[in-house]
Symmetry: C2
Subunit: 193 residues, 2 copies
């Protein structure tokens, strides 16, 4: 268990200052494909896990990113805040969490994240598998008649190990590199813009 | 020489419809690091190369992405348009272009892109190397007393080979996959949302 990172508050403040923009809660998540090419897509921020630096996202078990993460769990989030003109580049590791995950606090987060989802967000997990050719026969997830979480639902937990922070509003730009050292403490140094 | 892609107009229209947002001209560029981890950062769109699907960006020879691209030129652009709620995921190859590049039209684009830059954008190529520890001795690029382009300036040309297009404003979401086939023609198919 690592301590709350010093940059955690900076990120929380950026989220607050950009709260008028719904899309300030979206970021771009890069992973690596089986053939060594990068993949990159927009993902919705689903909050921090309690008392941690861990970032929650959701995805469909049947999505391409699950395959990619199972092979190479390293990821980089690029999060640009348009109003405050700040960029957070967070490098770290992704963990796929399902209903039976051994980590109990992650299992709890899995359930709580589902509970907080809108009906529209939930619907996509009952429906047809994503990114399949429309012309072909497609796998479907039967709509449950209870409140049960559909089998296709996955929580993704991102554990940051490095942060490259850039503030484009300052001149010269404030640019800092933060990293988790061997003892689990966050270190930081100033970089040239 | 491949033909103008059918999606090229869709992207041009998105740029136009989102033109009130300066940051709609920024996208996230993912590459792969030497150690196999992904890298992801915000980059400014510098236009299409004439009569092509190629996307121009600029960077500093001394930046980390140059090292990454020299090793693995595969990249994925994730471009989210906030106003129209569209996402373009463009997979393809990056080419590093300097003043002496063999491709004449790229060499011309190299010069023209520099000419169009603001003084502020130009200044960063004369200055200290980017992303270096502030505390250490840092490499500097001497300010030229002529209009010569500084040696650190590089044009990046991105050649898209695939596009995953998602329109979040339509219900169900319009989702299409486009790819360049062996004969250099763009193909497309509809996907599930």
């Amino acid at each position: 268990m690592t301590s709350l990172a010093p940059w955690r508050q900076v990120l929380a403040r950026s989220l607050h200052r950009n709260r008028a923009l719904i899309y300030a809660r979206y970021f771009q998540l890069a992973t690596v494909r089986a053939d060594g090419r990068p993949a990159n897509r927009t993902v919705v921020f689903r909050g921090f896990l309690p008392e941690s630096n861990q970032i929650a996202m959701i995805t469909d078990r049947r999505s391409q990113k699950i395959e990619q993460i199972e092979r190479n769990a390293k990821a980089e989030i690029c999060w640009y805040f348009p109003k405050t003109r700040e960029q957070f580049r967070l490098a770290g590791t992704l963990y796929i969490v399902d209903a039976g995950h051994l980590n109990e606090s992650w299992q709890r987060a899995y359930h709580e994240t589902w509970q907080k989802l809108s009906e529209a967000a939930r619907a996509q997990f009952y429906g047809i598998a994503p990114s399949q050719p429309l012309a072909e026969l497609i796998e479907t997830e039967p709509k449950a008649d209870s409140d049960a979480i559909p089998e296709s639902f996955r929580l993704l937990v991102f554990e940051p190990k490095e942060l490259d922070y850039l503030d484009l509003k300052t001149h010269p730009h404030d640019h800092h590199y933060h990293w988790l050292d061997e003892s689990g403490e966050w270190q930081a140094e100033a970089l040239t813009p």
